[in-house]
């Protein structure tokens, strides 16, 4: 289009070449990595089959801690799924230009994290073949779910989130898929023709006409607006799985916003953790620069402060309210049998992210990578601490008990990480991991161009 400004510094063609060039070619490192991941997934599958064959006794969960590592993993992965929509939808509405090169990977992460999270309620069910009992369909046995149960709210919240995230991700991909299709035109060999057909099919006949662009822009904006409330609702509903119970340590009014902030916190941390090796392996260093880590570091810091505020507020209120059960639950959480996880949680989630106050650290990619790993660990432990310590130490001292995960649970947990990474790596080699369209738009509008680190304060 004549009205669009020409490239400022980097030619548009280079952007397409760089991003599409990272696709398909799988070297030995990539194949080895995939092999390792598949092995871990296989092992987790064996553990799950073992659990199905010998029953839930093979997992460590038992009275009084009937929710253990499986539910920890579920909440953790739903949390990871949060940054995608935050970066794509909310930052899009806020006109934050820096999201351009990381939104695609974050959205993909959302999809794969929900796919991972969704496995855990099934694994936790024991008799997984009855999973459809959750679905609200009429049938002759009158197995209607209990709509007053937060677990059912969760089913709706997460399935809605997954659907919208998938549509949002796919809508954003359409112009890029058409670019790849055009690049593949006349590709030699059976594999080449297959790829051409596949991308042609996926790009839904995109021709880049004015009308198509107008409709695309409008749809993208509306979807961002629809997806934004979902960022708040999904993890709020997950938090109500706990907060609706009257268990001390769970029943708290702050849980909804606190879980949402925690989810965004862990999600951003995972984006940082994955993007560092990813930009290096795909040769996209010019596209994800210090500028992006600086901004992600600020978001990480903000959400860490909100999480820290919630930790302190919970302790203060437990003491201030004069309620002995509430106070005992929180006291034991900090100095009881699970003191180790508690210390890991607070150190990783509150203390270490304070480093992000320093601009020098936010712009140091290696430092951000290390901090993000600590946050990932801390956020997994946060879910563990909330779930396990509250159940282990409820009102009646006669019903107190401890929980230790079994090898089956640990194997399946390791498998979930491998499963998530497997999909992510597959994505990195089959779909453009950075939005070609949005990078070109950024260049045309003079917002940002590849290689620009925005060094000035």
């Amino acid at each position: 289009m004549a009205s669009v400004a020409g490239p400022a510094r980097t030619p548009f063609a280079k952007v397409s070449r760089d991003i599409i060039g990272a696709l398909w070619d799988s070297d030995l490192r990539y194949r080895m990595m995939m092999l390792i991941l598949l092995t871990v997934i296989g092992w987790a599958g064996v553990a799950w089959i073992y659990q199905i064959k010998y029953g839930m006794g093979t997992a460590g969960i038992t009275h009084p801690v009937m929710w253990g590592v499986y539910i920890t993993n579920f909440v953790f992965w739903v949390g990871i799924a949060h940054s995608g929509t935050l970066i794509s939808a909310i930052l899009y509405l806020l006109r934050s230009g820096w999201r351009t090169t990381i939104n695609r990977a974050a959205e993909a992460m959302t999809i794969f994290a929900v796919m991972t999270a969704g496995l855990f309620p099934l694994i936790h069910l024991g008799r997984v073949w009855y999973f459809y009992f959750l679905a609200p369909y009429p049938n002759q046995r009158l197995l209607w779910p209990n709509f007053r149960s937060p677990l059912i709210w969760d089913f709706f919240a997460i399935s809605t989130y997954f659907t919208i995230s998938l549509l949002f991700w796919y809508s954003g991909l359409i112009p890029d898929l058409a670019t790849i299709r055009d690049k593949l035109k006349g590709a030699p060999g059976l594999w080449g023709r297959f790829k051409e057909k596949l991308y042609s099919y996926l790009s839904l006949g995109w021709g880049g006409t004015d009308t198509q662009w107008r409709n695309y822009r409008r749809a993208y904006l509306y979807m961002a607006a629809i997806a934004t409330p979902l960022v708040l609702s999904v993890h709020s509903v997950v938090s109500w799985d706990f907060a609706m119970a009257i268990t001390p340590g769970w029943h708290s009014t702050i849980f909804a916003p606190y879980f949402v902030a925690g989810a965004i916190f862990s999600g951003i941390a995972m984006v940082i953790t994955l993007s560092v090796p990813f930009r290096w392996a795909l040769g996209l260093e010019d596209y994800i620069t210090e500028y992006h880590y600086d901004n992600m570091g600020k978001l990480l810091l903000l959400t860490s402060l909100i999480v820290g505020y919630a930790y302190i507020a919970e302790y203060f209120m437990a003491w201030y309210s004069g309620d002995p059960a509430e106070w005992e639950s929180f006291r034991w959480r900090a100095v009881g049998d699970y003191m180790g996880p508690f210390v890991i949680m607070t150190t990783c989630n509150v203390v270490i992210p304070l480093l992000c106050f320093a601009r020098r650290i936010r712009r140091n990619i290696a430092a951000m990578f290390v901090i993000s790993i600590f946050v990932n660990i801390g956020m997994w432990y946060e879910r563990f601490v909330i779930i396990v310590t509250s159940l282990a130490h409820e009102y009646s001292p006669g019903a107190w008990g401890l929980y230790k995960p079994s090898w089956v649970e640990l194997s399946i947990t390791a498998g979930s990480f491998a499963w998530f990474l497997f999909w992510f790596m597959l994505f990195a080699k089959t779909l453009p991991a950075i939005s070609i369209t949005e990078v070109k738009e950024s260049i045309a509008e003079g917002v940002w161009s590849p290689g620009d680190k925005k060094e000035e304060a």
Partner: protein, 426 residues
């Protein structure tokens, strides 16, 4: 009406009046006088009513004042270029902070009328409350210390946003205003250097101010609202309180900017800035309602006496009507109206919705405080409450007018954010 380019320094400085317009002074002075009359009569005839509405107004106006200063800090932290030229208007609310501090100290004399836990600090289930926290001396000591800290921070922030413009403003002022602006401009090292220095300091101060705001207003909510229902447990309430105060500042900004535009010809803001302000108010109306619901749902579902004690009282007559009214004014009606782009972009429309939000937030503070204190039947909302509220409004207005008549309402130098025009497309 200038709509295309930025204002010149001269045009901005010409709008500094150097005195409060006579009519405004009469109206505001009358309001303060009415408030004083109401306060004195109330102390002799109905001390509990007087002190409880005093507390309601203290909370409402102090929250508005602190959040007004926070607006500039938030714009700086979020790099909100659109709000750059608006922050001076919101910052003016901070002029009320010294009065707020004094009002807090005066509140001490009404402690016997408002804190039900004095002499019997137990929660709804009969468990004793921690004495280290529940004692009047401690409450006022920590309150005085923490408020001083927050208010000083707010003033330092205001000082550094204003300082680069001070010599230019001082040249047009006389009397105490001249003295104040000269003092603020002491050791001035030139426009560019001062603007750069302010920018550096404000960059460091903004996160500290934002954190202090959250912590101090949380403390205010705990001591001056939650403690009125001894032992009531809601971890979210302090955050809900300070987000409400923030929303009041956004609404207050829309109202003040519209008043300036309508009556003083200060057409400083471009349509897209009004639109952005409208969107921000819309977003925070939703967020406020989200926090309200997040608090309500677990309490309703858990049905535990230590929590429901607060909600139940406000869900039943006679308070039920007021609870519905504030929720409608802060969320339901603004949500429906702000869906329209025109309501967000036409200043009088936006100001009307913002006014409704302010009314709703005042009612919300009223419903949060009074039912916990009031020991007799019915809703104590009559002449005393009206006069006291008008008095606070008048005092707030005088403080704001002093600020607005002394300082330029549009920044001459970019002390908050670099690179955005004062007005127009950004």
């Amino acid at each position: 009406m200038q709509t295309e380019s930025s204002y010149t320094d001269e045009q901005v400085l010409n709008r500094i009046t150097g005195r409060i317009p006579g009519r405004a002074l009469i109206v505001l002075g009358t309001l303060v006088g009415l408030g004083l009359i109401g306060f004195v009569i109330g102390l002799f005839t109905a001390p509990q009513r007087t002190w409880q509405v005093y507390l309601v107004n203290f909370l409402f106006f102090s929250g508005l004042a602190a959040a007004g200063v926070l607006f500039g800090a938030a714009m700086q932290l979020a790099k909100g270029h659109w709000g750059k030229s608006m922050h001076r208007v919101a910052q003016g609310f901070g002029a009320f902070l010294p009065a707020s501090y004094l009002l807090f100290l005066i509140l001490y004399f009404g402690n016997g009328q408002i804190f039900p836990w004095i002499g019997n600090a137990v929660n709804a289930e009969g468990h004793p409350l921690p004495e280290t926290w529940f004692n009047v001396g401690g409450l006022f000591l920590r309150g005085a210390a923490f408020l001083a800290l927050l208010y000083i921070l707010c003033f330092v922030f205001m000082y550094y946003t204003l300082r680069p413009d001070m010599p230019a403003a001082a040249a047009r002022l006389s009397g105490w205003r001249r003295g104040l602006t000269d003092w603020m401009a002491r050791g001035y090292k030139g426009e560019e250097e001062e603007a750069g220095r302010s920018r550096r300091i404000l960059g460091r101060l903004a996160p500290i101010l934002a954190l202090s705001y959250a912590v101090m207003l949380s403390g205010m909510a705990v001591d001056l609202i939650m403690s009125l229902t001894p032992g009531w447990l809601s971890v979210l309430y302090p955050a809900y309180f300070f987000i409400g105060a923030w929303l009041s500042a956004l609404a207050g900004l829309a109202v003040m900017a519209t008043l300036f535009r309508m009556y003083l010809g200060l057409d400083f803001f471009a349509p897209n800035q009004w639109h952005d302000l409208g969107k921000l108010i819309f977003a925070f109306c939703i967020f406020w309602a989200y926090l309200w619901f997040s608090q309500y749902l677990p309490i309703w579902y858990g049905n535990m006496p230590r929590e429901t004690v607060f909600i139940e009282l406000r869900s039943l007559p006679p308070w039920q009507t007021f609870s519905i009214a504030f929720f409608a004014c802060v969320f339901v009606i603004p949500f429906l109206l702000l869906l329209w782009q025109k309501v967000k972009m036409v200043p009088p429309y936006l100001a009307s919705v913002a006014g409704l939000i302010l009314l709703g937030l005042w009612l919300e503070r009223f419903v949060a405080v009074v039912p916990s204190i009031w020991t007799e039947g019915g809703v104590p909302l009559g002449v005393i409450e009206l006069l006291m509220t008008l008095g606070f409004l008048g005092l707030f207005g005088i403080c704001y007018a002093l600020y607005a008549s002394t300082f330029p309402l549009l920044p001459l130098h970019d002390s908050i954010i670099v690179g955005a025009p004062r007005k127009g497309p950004y």
